[in-house]
Symmetry: C2
Subunit: 314 residues, 2 copies
């Protein structure tokens, strides 16, 4: 079955025709060009869909859209998307009417998580929790092939479980969220703090005149810098607390990590697994264990996931 996946971002609108096994058959994109009316963005999405349908060999059975913000999937409605400036916009209904085919809608982080579960790092897994360690901490939970969206439609927000009561301020207005400790933004803040306290650390030489990034501490630690190693260890301990909490709720087959920080690969994953294991409830008595892995689809996860969500509607 061929379906179309749309990844609606603040910078670009990406569209892909996706085949049976999750392979991307054709891909195109256009700038989101904010600020402009929601209706104009819809027209561009319709244009991309029309072009992909024309180019497709065989019928296209549906369209899935991953949108930033809070989404009511059943109603096909974006309730609120801060970076698009949308409030109560019925994108699903509009696309369905104009295209004459089923349209699925999901939060963009959920769509990407679904992609990883269906065709990426958690393919064929009974269940998966996907965490994206980027500007924020997003993600999604997939149980028995279904995206967990909850009663309110807002699930899941793994970045906003609280791991330190009264701790660091989070962008959401609360204190102590996982996002405030385990996002790339948080890692950069932790790195800058350590650099101020350690003026002779290799981290200064590595960044030079350039900006501090999520790689700075990992690179300096790999080169033997003690202060950087401390940053990395502390970051991983915070992330481990979040991952362990998620395992103790879902006991999923796979926890998949994506986003900038996850590009560290085994330099992140290996110590993370060691830190998580003693915090997993009943670990010693369980015969099955959660695998903690890197995601495999990269920036295409959202496109592939949105296309797979369309199958559920078709």
């Amino acid at each position: 079955m061929q379906t179309i996946g749309i990844d609606l971002g603040g910078t670009n609108i990406k569209a892909a025709l996706v085949g049976d096994g999750g392979q991307i058959l054709r891909q195109m994109s256009c700038p989101t060009a904010l600020p402009r009316p929601a209706e104009a963005i819809c027209e561009d999405i319709l244009g991309l869909c029309g072009e992909l349908i024309r180019q497709a060999e065989g019928p296209v059975m549906g369209v899935g859209v991953g949108c930033p913000g809070t989404v009511d999937a059943d109603a096909g409605m974006v309730l609120y998307a801060n970076n698009l400036g949308w409030e109560m916009f019925p994108i699903g209904r509009i696309l369905r009417q104009r295209l004459g085919m089923p349209v699925a809608l999901a939060n963009d982080a959920n769509a990407a998580a679904y992609g990883e579960a269906m065709a990426g790092c958690a393919q064929d897994a009974q269940s998966a929790v996907i965490l994206t360690l980027g500007t924020g901490v997003g993600g999604g939970v997939i149980l028995d092939g279904r995206l967990l969206t909850g009663y309110t439609g807002g699930a899941a927000e793994p970045g906003h479980i609280i791991i330190q009561q009264g701790g660091e301020a989070c962008t959401c207005g609360c204190r102590g969220c996982l996002e405030a400790y385990a996002s790339a933004t948080a890692l950069i803040r932790q790195t800058r703090r350590a650099m101020r306290q350690n003026p002779r650390s290799l981290m200064h030489a590595l960044t030079g005149q350039g900006p501090v990034t999520g790689r700075t501490a990992f690179d300096a630690a790999a080169a033997g810098d003690a202060a950087a190693q401390q940053v990395v260890d502390t970051y991983i301990q915070y992330l481990a607390v979040g991952v362990a909490s998620l395992i103790n709720l879902f006991f999923p087959q796979v926890v998949g990590l994506s986003g900038g920080v996850a590009n560290q690969g085994e330099a992140l994953l290996e110590p993370l697994r060691r830190a998580v294991e003693p915090m997993v409830y009943g670990h010693a008595f369980s015969q099955k264990h959660t695998r903690i892995v890197g995601c495999s689809l990269g920036y295409q996860a959202g496109l592939v996931g949105a296309a797979f969500l369309a199958r559920g509607q078709a």
Copy 2:
């Protein structure tokens, strides 16, 4: 459909014949009388089932058993139950063979949560998270009428999400678990600490020569004692952090609280709701909200839940 629910505890084995709507038609019990061999306990369960089947008007379609410890529901196996002294005991298979009818197995906290979801405080809800605030913090998660057990079978352990990295020691060996802050045991520890620091607090007069309980601080706070009010406020803030984290993952229709501390009713629930609300992600933009309520089945939740689990097998 009539089924039998078994609640296997460290003190008593309870058994009930449960009717279509979740009503208990007949109930009996016998002492668990530990320590003794698992096989002997099985014989007593078989005896209770036989008696209930004899007394039933109409056919009994299956048996559900709620057991303490870690359970592999699919295999009908108790993997490890510390307080029974069981390891790898195939109780489900034994009962099925001897009774000649389907037997469902679940962790006891999960069985009780399922009872509340099917016939108690979350009846007809799309999803529910049940938290038991007792000696520990147990519970379960029910999504679309199904118990979340996860890939490993260990789900869910809401008492072992970590709300304070590096915080209070938990019975599980970790630090900072919700259980270490929100169980009745934790509340008693917090109350004792405040009593030592406040020798003139009303809490001393209220307990007299008797033991400090989970009610001590709530009772003294209701009578206007400031130190007790501080204990209650802090306890509720910790509990709220845990409840908010659970909402931010599951966005369930209902969060139900049971166990000793939940007997405080609105004295607990009303300030809890106020503390949770600002920590719920996207609360201002969502049109649907999670209800936080007290559970309604009391100690019968486990029996009713086990009986309902048997229906899934029948």
